[in-house]
Subunit: 363 residues, 5 copies
């Protein structure tokens, strides 16, 4: 089936079972990583694209905040060096590379580690890209599977507010801004699903085809995937708000706002799931109605023509009128044939009238 | 489909994803805001319709309570000024304009912020208007999407009890009175749904048409919408009662009373959902029974006329009676034809009798 | 539909929305209230039927316990005076008159307020009467919608144990005894439902008619109503046991016993709901089996007679035997006709044999 | 329906509603009670069958442990005396006689009171006998509805370990041993259900008859009964472990072990319920497949013979070949009849070939 | 049914009910136990295969860690000696031999006792082997039902890191590594199920056969078994992390990582269950569509040929044209026969055209 969503991400890129924990293996077919950096204070801003880790190291500690954005997981070595440079836990690094994680937050001694999922709906296939964030003093590291992301509005805000970067100078707020952008990107996705479900419902009513059931099946599966990506995010935001003191100022208020959005998405998903359930009932009902219609046509036809067949059969019998006046005298009547035709038409008309009264005809 | 409820409010008026939090954008097509004020103490009452924010400012602090009622979200600037005047949090203001919020209460330093939803069922479309309340010392601000509301009984009570306004002088009690009016307005709505469901059940029994399934589908969806508007209100009232000391006197008792009503509404919604589920079963069963009836008619017809056809066919065969006395001697009988007709009638009568005994006929 | 339960009590007798809380409006059509009193100590007992509130007032404080039993809600004034006499909260009084409350307990400063529901199954309509209890020092007030109740055994116990009334002298124990009588009255009700469900299951098996589905629907709805009346009672008893010190002695043990009964009722309701669900499956399966039977009859008939029709058709063809020896020589055979009849019978017998082997016949 | 489980025990033996709490009424038709005693210390053991309560009294306090086993509830007086002798609470005694209790534990001042249920599957009817235990210092009282029980292995262990009775000298451990024996007796029962479900599934596949649905219905109901008897037992064991210090030594470990078994039984019940649900789907699907087969046969037959009927009809028409060479020249052909027969056979063969290609034939 | 999973493990190998707790009975048919040992410090490593318990005893206390791996439960005596040697609780030993335990952790005074389940999918039968672990200071004992396991990668890691065994020197970490290997082995299993479900869905669409329903049934049952093996493992890991101080260093972090995997497996199982549910709907819908197709064919055939039969019947009637010019003049027309044939073809063409417009033909 073309356009079918690829297999659930839990089953991809999984290293051989029994591997030592913390073993770093790049997922097969992953792109080579590129590193972009934004390092800024309230007034200055340094942006570098496609830098080496050495360059990154030189920027550290000299700005209020350094945002290291890694795109591509194709080289386990880079990830390992990243871990060394920023002192990240091997289990967290392993999770970065094994892209089948549930969204979560984990607090380590020096940093917090966040995993979330960004939806891409391209060419009718739903992809839920894993995005990892490390969050430490003056540092945010983001690691993406694919270059495309939803962070450009955040970058623009950083660039625009020179001299007045306020909350954006804090690592926790930048992390919030990135997570918020991810959550926000579920809404246009859900709009597309709303339209697909509406279209499906309309088609089910007008023309219940088996393809509709397949579409229902596919939508159910994709909504299930989205649900799996969204539900743990609620816990994520709660975990962040109740985290180990790594939140400063009023970031908690902003996280609560974002949690609101997650709740709204969960609500919508429930509604869509219910609607798909009802669509199955609609489909079955429509099929049943159609079958009823077909059967009525058949019954009407049979009821109409079977008696006629018997009548023509009667006058096709070969009893010999010559032998006795009781034997088919109609055959010798002057209007015998018109009488027989009239009988046929009369029986038919009567039955049609009866069917109309039953409500089977002409509605 | 005419009368179909418009798209769920979560998907409307949503600003571009990635926007900075606290960005105020008026929802497209929203009405320009009008501001009405009631400022009163125990004895005096000043009511002003369609005032400017400057006038509002002049009234502040000179009465026991000032109720500012804003209707229409069409101008983000007004909302922003409102925020400045009353010192409201930008995230709360953003929620006022993004009318896809779940009902909730949020406690800020100086004020509490409440969102609820007021149902309007017009022209068969269900609308759940977002209503926001800010609640501070001596001040209640309500912001509505549309001018129509359910607050007139509250206004009347304020006007009527001059010299004896008691609890109505407290902001928390006025907020309760407004929320109570909102909750109360769900009951007549539910009555309408009860009637629609009863009508549906009756039609399903008398005439199971596919339109019934569509009606079920629509009712399910609307009840789901109401449920989404009501469920969070329970938490809202609990949040208010357990709020940060902003409740005075016995307002808690009144909130508990209101929570009772929310519970009753939730109960009713569950009952309606179950009844709709059973209606689907009823529909399927009715269809099945009807199909059974149609099939019985067909079977009776076929069983009646097929043997007759064979009989007439037999006497229509051309075996030559002249060749042998064994060849269709009936053709030469005196009463051959009446005998054949009798055979037809006899077979038919026998089969009808048999069907009657099977219970397929005449019931 | 005759006997259909009246509309859910949540939607009846509701005052206009937006009314001030504590507004007392008698439900339309309610009976005028009558007041009965039992005032007693360990030795004395004064019983008065149909008294005025003045008389009630004179009895107060002069007996260990006064039980005021009000029947009928037709006069809001009486209820208001009752509130004044016993110092009851207006919100509680409002709930007494608005007979759509869920069972609950509310603790006020001087008294506890309890609402429960007593089932009446009359003339096939299920009614769940609201009963309100106020419980204070030396005082129990019960308010009923209808005169009929289940309290006579309690009255008998009071009368019988003169000189030895023990626990019955305490308001909390009397309240327990009344609640226990209410809970006990659900069991005979459930027995009736058990019998109706059993009857339904048997009929479904022997004769699956659409009426069965309607009965299922009705039973489901009524069980749902009972469930709504029972579930909150569990919380009620828990609330009473954990109440604010208004329980004396071992009343807690008795309340626990009563809670047990509520649990048993909830269990039974779950079982009945499951059985009704299975009954739907049974019904659908029975319909399907019947349809199968009808279709088999049709198929057997068609298969039997259609080949016969073809055979008689063949020998009814008019090919001219005179033209060529190849043209229908059978027509001129001595035993042509018996041969043709034999062919018909033979084909029929063969097919019947085949159907028997398929298991479609003779079972 | 023979073998149908008797009515749920909640609805049996219930005293008139409104009875005073603690009223002791023997269930109608109950057997007269017999009392057996085992009184033992580490070395001595006294066993008495069918003793009077006076004899029991004489044994008390002279042995480390006295186990009084009462079988039969036919005499309320005996139960009352038992209560007096051992100082048991009237509410507990009432529960002993009203055999519709859920399994539970209740801690009273001097004793703990336990109710559990022992399954008997006889003659295809499932019975869940109520067994009550009282547990005090040096005393265990068990009360059974019927003489048959599952305690013989415990009795054997007591007899066998003279001089080394260890834990069996403690009342709490003996109570555990009895409860463990009850829980263990659910496993062979579940094995029987596993076999019945497997048999059912196999029959559904080979021959979907309506009896299968009835069997499903019955199994569902019985599993529901077992579930109701088992679920509260989990709480029972938790209640015992967290009880008010009546447990000594390591009895807690043993109770945990027993709780494990309850969990395993609950798991199995869930699995069986799911399998029965799937069996319904299987049944419906099998019916549908069969109907499809029947319909195919009908359609094949009709499609095969109807065209033949038309062909024979054509050559049975009476157009006069003498009038014009255009009128049915076939009738005068030398091979007219063989040609017609060939046409019939040819049309039939063609259609059969077509059906085979459709996959409707010969599979 | 070949390949059918054997009966749920809860019902196997269960000792006679009522047995004394702690009774050790080897499961019937179990293999005789073999004991392998790995004893190691940071530098040294002693590996012994198939040793006696005496040899094991000699190794104890002389290495940082001793891992005793027992394979086979065929000899209760060995297990009993094991218990004596390592001071294990009889209830735990009993659980080792009764291989129907749910995964769990139990903390005893000197040791922790863990049960988990390792999946084997061989020859289409799913087996969930019980694996027991005892965990004490410097000691890990693992007991398996069958020799095959998933621990080889752990053994390799022990062998490889001589001089640098770090965490592997701690009993808690080794236990974690073994549990992690078990959890990891569920993922390839789930991949196989994912493929079977996909195959099933495809077949359902192309060819809905009853075998598909049987496959659904089997998959549902096996997923249920896996679910029962996995769900308690979450509690297991939580129990381990919150255990009684037996965890050292950062083992908690690793256990949290493993818990993540359990959550992922649970997520996948839910998805598969939902997909199987949808597959049932698909199957029913496909059957319904097919039935619709068959019925349409039948109806088309009947509608096409029945009117033709009547027409041929008409011209097969024997009215005598000689008697009157009204009697079947067509029989004497020059083009009578072609006219009749044309009528037949015309009626057929008309009906085919009509069916095409209805959308029943040619699509
Ligand atoms: Mg690993
Ligand atoms: Mg992983
Ligand atoms: Mg990306
Ligand atoms: Mg957002
Ligand atoms: Mg917001
Ligand atoms: Mg469904
Ligand atoms: Mg935003
Ligand atoms: Mg928003
Ligand atoms: Mg409005
Ligand atoms: Mg209200
Ligand atoms: Mg109220
Ligand atoms: Mg259903
Ligand atoms: Mg009100
Ligand atoms: Mg009310
Ligand atoms: Mg009453
Ligand atoms: Mg009771
Ligand atoms: Mg009781
Ligand atoms: Mg439940
Ligand atoms: Mg009672
Ligand atoms: Mg009782
Ligand atoms: Mg017994
Ligand atoms: Mg046991
Ligand atoms: Mg155990
Ligand atoms: Mg189902
Ligand atoms: Mg045992
Ligand atoms: Mg065991
Ligand atoms: Mg193994
Ligand atoms: Mg792992
Ligand atoms: Mg991990
Ligand atoms: Mg679940
Ligand atoms: Mg779930």
């Amino acid at each position: 089936m073309k356009g079918q969503p690829s297999r659930p991400y839990e089953l991809r890129h999984r290293p051989r079972s029994g591997t030592a924990p913390g073993t770093l293996v790049a997922p097969p077919g992953a792109r080579p990583p590129t590193i972009n950096v934004m390092a800024y204070g309230d007034d200055e801003l340094i942006e570098r694209a496609d830098v080496s880790l050495d360059e990154v190291e030189r920027l550290l500690g000299r700005h209020a905040l350094v945002w290291v954005d890694v795109r591509g997981l194709g080289d386990a070595e880079t990830i390992a060096q990243l871990g060394q440079l920023f002192d990240l836990h091997p289990l967290a690094l392993e999770d970065v590379l094994n892209t089948h994680q549930r969204p979560k937050v984990e607090h380590y001694d020096e940093s917090s580690f966040i995993i979330t999922r960004l939806p891409h709906l391209t060419d009718e296939a739903l992809e839920l890209e894993q995005i990892s964030l490390f969050l430490a003093d003056g540092l945010v590291v983001s690691v993406q599977e694919q270059p495309a992301d939803c962070f450009d509005p955040v970058r623009t805000r950083i660039r625009k507010h020179a001299g007045n970067r306020g909350r954006l100078l804090r690592a926790d707020y930048l992390a919030y801004a990135l997570l918020d952008a991810v959550v926000d990107s579920y809404f246009p996705l859900l709009e597309q699903y709303a339209e697909r479900i509406e279209g499906l419902e309309e088609r089910t009513v007008s023309r219940p085809e088996h393809a509709g059931m397949l579409e229902i099946q596919r939508l159910k599966r994709e909504l299930l995937q989205i649900r799996r990506a969204i539900w743990p995010q609620r816990e994520l935001f709660r975990g962040l708000r109740e985290g180990e003191g790594r939140l400063a100022g009023d970031t908690g208020l902003f996280l609560r706002d974002c949690e609101d959005h997650v709740l709204q998405i969960m609500d919508l998903l429930e509604i869509y799931r219910e609607r798909l359930g009802t669509a199955v009932d609609l489909h079955v009902s429509a099929l049943s109605h159609r079958m009823n219609e077909v059967m009525k046509v058949l019954t009407i036809i049979a009821t109409l023509f079977m008696p006629m067949t018997v009548i023509t059969g009667i006058y096709g019998m070969n009893f010999d009128p010559a032998v006795s006046p009781w034997n088919m005298p109609e055959l010798g009547w002057r209007y015998g044939y018109p009488f027989a035709l009239g009988l046929l038409v009369g029986v038919g008309a009567l039955l049609l009238f009866y069917f109309r009264r039953l409500g089977w005809l002409g509605r």
